[in-house]
Amino acid sequence: MVDLSRVGAVFTGTPPYTVSRAKIAEFADAVGATSPLHHDPDAAVAAGYPDVVAPPTFAVVIAQRAESEYVADPASGIDFSRVVHANESFTHTRPLVAGDVVSTAVHVDAINERAGITMVTTRTEIADDGGAPVATVVSTLAVRGEGA
C-alpha cells in the first residue's frame, strides 16, 4: 500500500550530480541525438555554450536518481514490480551542459488513488551549484494495487 501521508514531503538527501561529456555522449547515442552540440566541445562553444549540451530528456538521469530516495524506500509503500510510468515532463530554465554540478529536491506533489491504481506524482527541482534553477522534472508513476 502506497503511504498516502507522504504528500508534501521533500527529499534532498541525494548527493550532487556532476554532468560529464562522456555521459552526455552515451545518452545522446542511446536516443539517437546526432547534433554536434552533444558530442563536440568546440561546436558547443561556437554556439555559445560553455561545453557540450545534454539532450532534452537527459535530466531524467538526474531526476530518477534523486526520486529513488523516495520511491525506492520501502517506507513509501511503492512496490516497484507493480509500477508503470504514466507521464513525464521537463521544463528547462537552461540546458544542462558538461561540467554542471547540480543538486536536487524531490517534492511529492500528489498521491491519488482510484479504481485500484495509485498515481504518485513527484517534482524534482534541479539547481546548479550556485542555487540557480536549471530544470524541473515532473514524473507520475501508476502503482497497481494488490487486486488490480
Binding site: G32, A33, Y49, P55, P56
Partner: protein
C-alpha cells in the same frame, strides 16, 4: 525551413523513423541508469504479465525529443517537453521495431517568442505516446 513567428500552425516540421532493437534497450539502460529487467529480460517481462520485453517509455520519449532538437539544430531552444506513456513498445528478438516520429506546429506565440510542437510518435500506425508536446524558442 525554420520555425519562426511566421510559421503557420499545422506545418509539418519533420517526419522520421528510428529503429529500436534489444541492443538499443541495453544501451539506453546503461546510459540512463534504468536497469528495470522488463526492458532486457524476456523471462522476467512475461512473468510480470507483459507481452515481452518493452522499451523504456523514457527511451521512446527521448528518441522523439532528440528528433525534434536535431531538427531545431540547437537543443537549447527546447523550453519544455512532456508526454503520457499510453502504449508499451514491445521489442522483438530477433528483429526491431520502427518508431515513427512526426513534428507539427501546434501553436505559435510571437509575443512570447515560442511555439508548441505536437509530436506524433507511433509504432505500426498506433500512437505510443499521448499528448507529446514541446515548447521551443522561435528562430
Amino acid at each position: 525551413m525554420s520555425l519562426s513567428a511566421q510559421t503557420e500552425v499545422g506545418t509539418e516540421l519533420f517526419s522520421t523513423t528510428v529503429a529500436v532493437d534489444r541492443a538499443r534497450l541495453v544501451r539506453y539502460a546503461g546510459a540512463s541508469g534504468d536497469f528495470n529487467p522488463i526492458h532486457w529480460n524476456e523471462r522476467f517481462a512475461t512473468e510480470v504479465g507483459l507481452p515481452g520485453v518493452i522499451a523504456h517509455g523514457m527511451l521512446t520519449m527521448g528518441i522523439a525529443g532528440a528528433a525534434l532538437t536535431d531538427w531545431l539544430g540547437d537543443p537549447g531552444r527546447l523550453v519544455s517537453y512532456g508526454c503520457r506513456f499510453t502504449r508499451p513498445v514491445v521489442v522483438p528478438d530477433p528483429g526491431e521495431v520502427e518508431v515513427a516520429v512526426r513534428g507539427v506546429v501546434g501553436a505559435v506565440d510571437a509575443e512570447a517568442g515560442t511555439a508548441r510542437v505536437d509530436l506524433t510518435v507511433s509504432v505500426d500506425g498506433a500512437t505510443v505516446l499521448g499528448k507529446a508536446q514541446a515548447h521551443v524558442r522561435l528562430a
